[in-house]
C-alpha cells in the first residue's frame, strides 16, 4: 500500500501541484505516467462562474480514496503508483480542484488507472461542489447519490 498516496489537500495551506504528483508516481521500472488535472472553469451550464467551494467529508474521503486505489490495482493487475489529491475550500477560476497521477510499466495501464480514478472520485467520493456565479447566486452541484 506504500505505492498509493492518498491525500485531501487543505487549499488554505497548500496549492495542489502536478509536479508533486508526477514525482510520486515515478519509478525506474515505469515507462508511462499519466496525469489528470481538474480546474475551475469560468463558465458552467451557460453561467459565468467566479469560483467554487468544495465541502469534503475528510475521513470518509480518505477511506474512499484508499478503496479506489485497491480497485484500480486489481483492475490494472500489475505494478502501480497512484496519487489522488482534492482541494478543500474556496477556489478561483483556473485553480486546481483535483490532481490524479498514475505510474505503471506501460502506458495503457497508466491511462486506464488515471481515467478510472477520476471517474471514481467524481462519482463516489464524499465531496460537494458549490458554484459561485457572477450575479451573486450560488448553487450546489447536482451530483451522484451514494445510496445503492
Amino acid at each position: 500500500m506504500s505505492n498509493h498516496f492518498l491525500h485531501v489537500s487543505g487549499i488554505a495551506a497548500e496549492k495542489l501541484d502536478a509536479a508533486t504528483a508526477l514525482d510520486f508516481v515515478a519509478d525506474p521500472g515505469f515507462g508511462g505516467a499519466t496525469l489528470f488535472i481538474g480546474r475551475v472553469r469560468d463558465r458552467n451550464h451557460g453561467r459565468d462562474v467566479l469560483g467554487v467551494s468544495y465541502d469534503i467529508h475528510r475521513p470518509l474521503a480518505l477511506v474512499r480514496f484508499a478503496q479506489i486505489a485497491v480497485e484500480i490495482e486489481r483492475e490494472v493487475g500489475g505494478q502501480l503508483k497512484l496519487y489522488i489529491a482534492h482541494a478543500h475550500g474556496r477556489l478561483a477560476v483556473g485553480d486546481i480542484a483535483v490532481v490524479i497521477a498514475a505510474g505503471t510499466p506501460h502506458r495503457d495501464e497508466a491511462f486506464r488507472a488515471c481515467r478510472q480514478a477520476i471517474e471514481s472520485v467524481k462519482h463516489s467520493a464524499p465531496i460537494w461542489k458549490q458554484e459561485h456565479y457572477a450575479n451573486g447566486d450560488s448553487a450546489w452541484g447536482e451530483g451522484c447519490s451514494l445510496c445503492d
Binding site: H57, H86, P126, W128, W140, C144, S145, C147
Partner: protein, 85 residues
Amino acid sequence: MIIELELFGALRGLEHADRMSLQVSGDRVADLRAALAAYAAAHWPGLAPGLLAKCAFATHSEILRDGDAVSADVRMSVLPPVSGG
C-alpha cells in the same frame, strides 16, 4: 434516542449549521431517514424535492444501508449526492 448528525453540502445551508441533533424512533437507518424527513418538512422550506431520498447516511468509516443499525453513541453523517472533481 437522540442521534447527532453532521451535515454536508447543500444540507449545511438549509440548517444554517454543520451539526444537528435529532430525536429518532427506532434503531435503523430507515428510522433516522424518516425522522430527518419529518424534520426537513417542518424546517427546511428550501429543500429540493427528492433530495433527502438520495442522501446517504454514513459513519466516519463507511456508508450504511437503510436496514443497518444506528446508535446514540455514533455520530452519523448525512451525505447528499456528491459532485467532486
